[in-house]
């Protein structure tokens, strides 16, 4: 029997990788991929606790998280395309019109 700790540590690792990606990467598309990774880490945590508690509510929540991730990817990538069209770049460092100078 694999203890729930292993699954939670794995989820923490995935979340940390995604978080580092969001902080470090320049390409907005890869930043989105890292957000998907973090959402997956949250899903893994939900499913691990659902299995440990023997309750299936976690499965329902994970299902909703996947639906929200799909919506987020669609809108997010549309924004990336719109930004590329108007500014000719997808670098998150160069899109800074809202930055306080």
């Amino acid at each position: 029997m694999v203890p729930v700790t292993n699954y939670l540590a794995l989820a923490a690792f995935l979340f940390a990788i995604g978080f580092v990606g969001v902080l470090v990467k320049k390409n907005a598309i890869i930043v989105f991929m890292c957000i998907e990774l973090m959402l997956n880490a949250a899903n893994l945590t939900f499913l691990a606790f659902a299995r440990q508690q023997g309750s299936m509510s976690g499965h329902a929540i994970a299902f909703f998280v996947i639906a929200v991730a799909a919506a987020e990817a669609a809108v997010g990538l549309a924004i990336v395309i719109a930004v590329y069209r108007t500014r000719g770049t997808v670098s998150v460092d160069e899109v800074e019109v809202l930055r306080d100078s």
Binding site: M1, V2, P3, V4, N6, Y7, A9, L10, A12, F13, L14, A16, I17, F19, V20, G21, L23, V24, K26, N27, I29, I30, F32, M33, C34, E36, L37, N40, N43, L44, L47, A48, R51, Q52, G54, M56, S57, H59, A60, F63, F64, I66, A67, V68, A69, A70, A71, A73, V75, L77, A78, I79, V80, I81, A82, Y84, R85, T89, V90, D93
Partner: protein, 168 residues
Amino acid sequence: MGITAEQALFWIFAIPLMASAAGVIMARNPVYAAMSLVSAFFWLAGIYVLLTAHLLAFVQIIVYAGAIMVLFLFVVMLLSLTDAELGLEKMTALKVVGIVGTAGLLSLIVTALVQSGPRAMKAVGEDFGTVRAVGKILFTQYLLPFEATSVLLLVAIVGAVVVAKEKI
């Protein structure tokens, strides 16, 4: 103390999962990052099966590895960025601080998990995580959030079209 089949399977799925997740942030080319992410989703689906979440494992492959990643690859290839446009990743001091901070956060969480001790899984019935059982809970206890999800997806579709289209 031998290694059980479940423990062996956990590591068989977990090690490639961690490697492909790391590949997402190591890759310079977004296409390689996307392929790494697809592979990470497949290994994660294996972990879900180990957690007896069979329906979620299939949804993971169909929705994530299928639909969402195809969307990502479409956008990557639509923009088809050259190396010059991608530019070099600059390692600023702030980014190094971010990496160190995240590593600290990770070690903190793992230490807390290890110190809280191993918690055994509860025994679950035959139908735990099957389509029938998850469907039943979705259409009874979680009916309102389920219906709200359909509205959310509709709004997302309309929003994506409005944002990405040049002229409406």
